[in-house]
């Protein structure tokens, strides 16, 4: 069960090698979290992530999960929930893709969309139903500022996050009053493997900062969390910039 501050005792991370996912798990383990499920494609990376969390004193298990194989989600995630209540699900998987390459390679672009959006729709719905049956729990979804307004520089990734973001908001409304808390997290540029070698955007942040913001959001039962918080203001201004101007901004 979650405690009065929204800290879960059991956590399921979808995308078990995600740096933000693991930073969040580490942070929550220092609080109350004792059981962690890491869901991801079987790999040495997943195993070493699990081993790292075990060293912090948590009971960590892994489960085979592939965002691109939605037909298997029901069975894989059902297995996790059958073992006991999950107080928090962190949907942390996603790929950035390579915009310039993917524009000329529709197949690759579709894979970005399928991972970030379609895969999340299926996994999100499976988890939402299980949480609803439990009558409690948080579903925390990692969206992105990129989904707030499509930019020339990464609109494939951005559009997939826009879909995910809209889906999560709607799911949150659908689950309102069921005891399940749905939270959208919109980080800006996060310094991680995913963005290695890319030019850093203003207000860049770290996986640890995102983890801290998630903990605060859990305590406040927030529905939307921006990381860093200043992005809320920046994005609400950018949202209203006329398209002709927006297109020419050096973003």
């Amino acid at each position: 069960m979650k405690d009065a501050f929204g800290i879960p005792q059991s956590l399921l991370v979808l995308g078990g090698t995600s740096e933000i996912g693991l930073a969040t798990a580490r942070r929550l383990i220092t609080r109350r979290t004792r059981t962690v499920w890491l869901a991801g494609r079987p790999s040495p990376g997943l195993e070493s992530a699990a081993a790292g969390l075990r060293e912090l004193g948590a009971d960590v298990r892994t489960v085979d999960f592939d965002a691109l194989d939605p037909d298997a989600h029901e069975a894989a995630l059902g297995k996790v929930f059958a073992e006991g209540d999950i107080d928090m699900v962190l949907l942390a998987f996603g790929v950035l893709g390579d915009q310039s390459h993917d524009e000329n390679e529709p197949g690759a672009a579709v894979r970005v969309a399928q991972t970030n959006y379609t895969g999340a729709v299926s996994a999100g719905l499976v988890c939402a139903r299980a949480l609803q049956t439990q009558g409690h729990g948080s579903l925390v979804v990692l969206s992105s500022v990129a989904g707030e307004r499509a930019r020339r520089a990464n609109f494939i990734y951005g559009s997939s996050k826009a879909g995910l973001d809209a889906f999560t908001q709607g799911l949150g409304d659908a689950l309102y009053g069921t005891g399940v808390h749905v939270m959208v997290v919109r980080p800006g540029f996060v310094r991680s493997r995913m963005t290695e070698g890319l030019a850093e955007a203003p207000l860049a942040t770290t996986p640890e900062a995102v983890a801290t913001a998630i903990e605060t959001g859990l305590r406040r039962r927030s529905e939307t969390v921006w990381v860093p918080g200043a992005l809320r203001v920046v994005m609400s201004a950018l949202r209203h910039v006329p398209r002709g101007v927006f297109r020419r901004l050096p973003l």
């Binding site: 800290i7 609803q132 049956t133 439990q134 009558g135 009053g177 305590r219 406040r220």
Partner: protein, 451 residues
């Protein structure tokens, strides 16, 4: 029997979960409710004054017992009452006071049910003299997981497991309670101020035994030399002769007339109760108390239940809710108490109405909270940053001093500390395993702490 799926929280309004609310109005309906509660079990709930998650059951059933509120029999000569578990102490006072009887133990609110009073084995300002509520219960009827209704007498293991057992042994249906005779419905109250914590503890230790009821309000925001400054209010039921000259009171010495103010609004901005506001309140509260006053006549509601005059006062903490922290440490552990009070005042936790009192002898309930020693209760807005970690550190000090925190108020204890705090937990678990192997009776509290 009505059924609804609703979002449920404790009085502190943290950690809401959804449950089917079932409201049985008869024994048969109660048996049916337990039988049909489903895979996630059920838990009895009264008026929802437990601060934490003791009367929540995510995804399962919550039995609202306030429908079983008959007062079956009153023995006016012997001083006992047989009533349904859903009867509130407020109702009992309304009925019993004109007959010259009072409830044996009351917490800081009248709006608790008799069933809840047994389940949490509540205590009041008279614990150092009278013990906890269950000590005055002669027997109760308990609906257990097998659907049977058992008569449980005091002195039996099932009685001691249920007293303070947080509803996890079954659903209490009725109880027979021994009452306290009174001559009037007024209290004779002595008030004095203590300048700091040592002064307070010395005064309490030296003179507490002279009073039936005793409590100290303590200003936890005061620092330095005035750390622990407080206002002691102690007293007893006023005898008839104390009303001399008060003709109106003499005409109806046993009248019960609690005052009531407008309730708190449903929306309160976050952070209303910060350090500044609570600091101002505390300053005022301390200053307005007389340095020493003897034999003041007060209404019962003013003395026992000041907050009951403000319906929904829990809303003043805003949407984030609040956490109530109450712990006890034994005599001889005064150093621990001092250290904790010091840490709270250093940290500037905005807590108003923090209360310190002395407990008397421990109670037989296996998970009963009171133990001979000191107890401090305070409430803090849940959105105070870093509060979780801070309270964890206090828990560690309490556990190291063989003390404990109160489960009826808890919403955040680490499960690992539970066995240290409640040494008879193993017996409780064993009895529960035998009586209810499928864990029909389950609450968010029992899931969170693995009770």
């Amino acid at each position: 029997m009505s059924t609804d799926t609703v979002s449920v929280t404790g009085w502190g309004r943290t950690a809401p979960t959804a449950a089917r609310l079932v409201r049985p109005r008869s024994y048969d309906e109660a048996v049916a409710a337990v039988r049909d509660c489903g895979a996630r079990g059920g838990i009895a709930r009264g008026l929802g004054r437990a601060y934490g998650d003791a009367a929540q059951n995510a995804g399962g059933a919550v039995f609202d017992m306030t429908g079983l509120d008959d007062i079956h029999a009153i023995d006016v000569d012997g001083g006992t009452v047989l009533c349904g578990a859903g009867v509130s102490l407020h109702r009992l006072m309304e009925v019993l006071l004109p007959l010259g009887w009072f409830v044996p133990v009351t917490p800081g609110t009248r709006y608790v049910t008799v069933g809840g009073a047994i389940g949490a084995d509540i205590h009041g300002k008279n614990h150092h003299v009278s013990g906890s509520f269950a000590r005055h219960v002669l027997s109760f009827e308990l609906l257990t997981a097998d659907g049977r209704i058992r008569m449980v007498d005091r002195g039996t293991p099932l009685f001691d497991a249920t007293a303070g057992g947080m509803g996890l042994t079954g659903v209490i249906l009725t109880a027979t309670v021994r009452l306290q005779p009174v001559e009037t419905s007024l209290m004779s109250v002595d008030t004095e101020r203590a300048t700091d914590l040592d002064d307070l503890m010395a005064r309490l230790t030296a003179t507490d035994h002279r009073y039936r009821y005793s409590v100290a309000w303590i200003d936890l925001l005061a620092r330095g030399a005035s750390m622990g400054r407080s206002v002691l209010t102690r007293g007893d039921h006023a005898p008839l002769e104390a009303l001399d000259g008060r003709t109106r009171a003499l005409r109806a010495p046993l009248e019960f007339r609690p005052g009531r103010l407008p309730g708190a609004p449903s929306f309160v901005p976050e952070g209303l109760l910060g350090r500044t506001t609570v600091g101002l309140f505390n300053e005022l509260w301390y200053r307005k108390a007389p340095r020493a006053r003897v034999g003041e006549l007060q209404r019962m509601s003013t003395f026992f239940h000041p907050l009951d005059g403000v319906p929904h006062w829990n809303r003043v903490y805003g949407r984030g809710g609040f956490v109530q922290y109450q712990f006890a440490v034994g005599y001889g552990q005064e150093e621990t108490l001092r250290r904790i009070v010091h840490r709270i005042s250093q940290r500037r936790c905005p807590s108003f109405l923090a209360v310190l009192k002395r407990f008397g002898e421990g109670d037989p309930g296996w998970l009963s909270f009171p133990m001979p020693g000191w107890t401090l209760a305070l409430d803090i807005p849940a959105n105070l940053p870093g509060l979780g970690g801070f309270l964890d550190e206090l828990d560690a000090e309490v556990a190291a001093a063989d003390g404990r925190v109160y489960l009826a108020k808890d919403s955040r204890l680490r499960p690992e500390l539970l066995t240290a705090m409640y040494p008879r937990l193993a017996e409780f678990r064993a009895l529960r395993e035998e009586l209810d192997p499928r864990s029909v009776f389950t609450s968010d509290l029992s899931r969170r702490l693995g009770l």
